[in-house]
Symmetry: D4
Subunit: 174 residues, 8 copies
């Protein structure tokens, strides 16, 4: 396994089903990651300790996923000079259709940036981490270019199929 | 001056104009307080250090005021067993009419309660702190009863004046 | 059973499934509570009567849970000098993903504080009540410290398991 | 002056500038009204006392105006069998562009209706009260018909002027 | 059957499952009603025709239920001098958790009041119509008083049962 | 089949189940359409290429459906002088009950209009496209008039049935 | 002056300051328009009468601007087979930052499309009307192409200036 | 001047007053940047051309600022493999207190990440760009550590002053 370059943290193991997407997409790029369950509210010191230690060990990007009043990404950002990506999570405890975690992750004060992605957007968090690493690694950058080309190819293939079959047949087959 | 029983923290000195209301109302009840500018994002260790130290020195309640992604009350709550009151603040950087700080202060996860008051509700935060202290202090409790009686008397006096003068004259005089 | 120190009110017995969490967590701390179904809209006088009587009998904190235009916590607060915790509740009648009860519970006017917790946050309401009682009771305070330590221990145990097994195996087992 | 048929209540005399519109429009229909400053949070017993007394004295409709967590209309409704009109008010303390008072006034639970009008819609509250009284009073009903005809005539006159002058000239003159 | 005094309109027969509550509660008070499916967007002339005819035939109150951009109550109000109650409806096509119909029903411009009730609040619409009719009918007024007493009795009975059984047993039985 | 006059684009084939309504309603008017799956984020050049080509081939109106940050309609509009209709789509990834796609589709800057329809309103998008084509085609215009008459007839038939059967029987049969 | 092809309606002459942008942009394309102040709530019959008459006289597109519960565009759409553009307007009476008019204009039910543009987007409404007319008029279509080219040229000129001067100097000069 | 590593784009020169903060903070770190006014709606091809060219010339991060339906960051992201930071902007045309641009910038679909910062958070966008560049540049990383230390020092100095003077004197002096 590759040396981990991305630290993926979440506040509860119930977030793992969504947050694993970040680790999986990084794996596709051959980027190692560490996955941690460490709440900034229930185990605050451990979060700080981990962030500092990981920073020293060579982690380059952090991803923090959290729901409700999603403080975790901001707490990570407070303790590191590295870029931090925040994933707002939707759960049964969310208010206003997820606006609580969206605004908590996004509205950080001047001086402490967090890079917020979409609600439950763990996959994009992983991609963004790869893009960040790619700014200093030509191999990764090339892989991202390929990834984007494949996405394009996939949707164009679907479009071609749709054009050939017509939307009625296409929908029936789905 | 009385020994401080309430620790009032805010993330920026631009919050002081609103947050001072908490200190003032506590002063009316003869309750001492400490006012601190200590951002959980810009000076996170100092916040933790203060919270622990204050807790040991005899502080009984914390009040944390913060705007935007208002993490401060939750960070205080993560490091103390004492009750924490959160004041969401409205500023030029607020989103959605203050929903960012309201939801950040209120939507804390299970295990880490924060007592949220209204947007810019620093006065109520002070009163709530007094009520909490009053649960163990008959004098304070009596003062709160008086405070509430005075509020009632004040509004009844206004009502009486309004009844006497009629609303047109009342408005002119205002 | 211990003498009740917390009065837990809700507007309808359909709220009991959520609100029982407050009573249960208080029980863990050895704090007695009373559970009441008393709507401020359907039985307003009874609410007032109960609040006054409870106050005289030695109740120290009230918890009011209510959905929609959640007036109950504010009505309790209007009739007591004790701290009142409000729990906004989500139901099939909620509007805007629970913003109706969130804002009704939280946006009390100056002079009448309510300590709002998260949407459906009855457990946190119970914990906050315990913290308030703990400000005057060293035993309770010690129990809260233990409770927080246990929460930390639990999440660190999960984290350790996750580190050992890796996220793929961890998710499979869940 | 006519015997008052409408009781207009508000939580603070700062609401009077908006709420006076209700009294004024009722006056145009020759319907007497009483204007009161009586907070359901600061003077709850007086509100109840007034509502019962007014009900016995011949008041037919109540109008309650309130901002933030606007409990007043619901409290009035809890203590009377008469129709209650609620006016959500916007102020510097409002959250989310007035959604707090809108949802507090509107989302009353089954059994306790409140007739909500628009944000700051005191004039419409007065008109609605007149319409309600008009269901049992042919004179008032005729006056409402005239009022509506006049509104139509006014806007048609403006439209005619606009057609004659063209929008450029019309705007210059304004 | 009693002569209808209330006209209940809705934009689609898919709304009938909710809107029937208005007719049923009126029936409990012995107040006759007419139930119509008449969209202001799909059959606008018929709505106008009905409103005028009903007004002449002795209808005293209209109730309009509609979802999405809920124009029906406002259209009714534009064509009658009688009070109009609006019921915002929630459906699979709703946006922002029902805010679309809530704001469409409530935010009528000055001069055209609509009495808005809660989201899906058809029962309260029926009660409000009864209260309006009650302002000119002592029998109905007495029945509303009884209705409210019964509501209070019912909740106090539940409360008594809860006190006797304790919340755990009460929940098990439910 | 008729020569296509409307280009219907969507960002993902998971949108096809909703977006097909546009094609179907156009088919009822005898208006041909092309259905494409072409994401402005995953295949941006292909979108531009298609829009230009279609424009040259005689397409008269574009319909773009997209969820989340729904950029597709705006991207189409940036590359054509033809009218563009935008359909905000609701999905499991939506935030705030669909406000994300609603506001993304609607809030285009000055100079680049998009005609936004309701959330998931693909049928109305098709109708609007037909109305636009009808401005230059008397046959289509006549068909729209018929379509509207049929809608009216349908709802009046339902209303008649409801009047005959009463709402109780009507609901049972449904 | 050209024969009017676009009917521009608004509910109040206070909307004219914004709505005039639609007429002005149409004038740039040499398209005549009629500007009317005709509230669907205060002068509903006149709206219907105008819409039918205008339709017969050769109007091809309607633009309806309205604030609050913005019913006007939907009412126009209910009475014509022509395309209707809706402009949600922001005013001092708006709720939730304009969400009331946005959702009222946009969330029309199936069968009655309205083409919604941005909040206060009267200019885009005019452009969209021109684009619709352009689908049957090659001259207008060419003018829209020119208009878009000019917009592009203008922003590229600004960009060039910015590149030459640098942002500091550019901002000083502004 | 340093070779530019960050491309800062915005849709209008009216955004420059806010967006310049990104360039200024980068300058503090000795990181060169390019500032461009290039709307994805008004000059879409130029945006694409610039993004590709800049990417080839050695730009490492893009920052896109946009208001309303803020499509610019997503359009940039669609055409590059580099990380893109999005700044939602608040303006007089914003809806719902800025939720339009917040959700447009943040809710990008899977495959096309954008790193969203706070409303008007251009300074944080600059800092985040510096952090990203810092992952491959020890000098920059050291400067960020210093920047964070300075922020902490500044707030601790304010706190010390506040402790010395007391909040009353502190406020007077401000």
């Amino acid at each position: 396994m590759n040396k981990p370059l991305v630290g993926i943290l979440m506040g509860s193991d119930s977030d793992l089903g969504v947050m694993k997407d970040a680790a999986e997409v990084l794996e596709q790029f051959g980027i190692g990651s560490e996955v941690k369950v460490l709440s900034c509210h229930r185990a605050p010191e451990k979060v700080v300790e981990y962030v500092r230690d990981a920073s020293a060990r060579g982690i380059k990007v952090f991803i923090g996923g959290a729901g409700m009043s999603a403080g975790l990404p901001g707490v990570i950002a407070a303790h590191t000079e590295l870029p931090v990506i925040g994933v707002p999570l939707l759960s049964a405890s969310s208010a206003a259709g997820g606006l609580d975690s969206i605004l908590s992750v996004m509205q950080l004060p001047p001086g402490i940036p967090v890079a917020a992605v979409a609600l439950n957007g763990a996959k994009n968090a992983g991609l963004l981490a790869a893009q960040i690493i790619g700014t200093g690694d030509a191999d990764i950058r090339a892989k991202i270019i390929d990834y984007k080309k494949k996405m394009e190819k996939d949707i164009l293939a679907k479009n071609e199929k749709l054009e050939k079959e017509g939307y009625k047949k296409y929908l029936e087959k789905k």
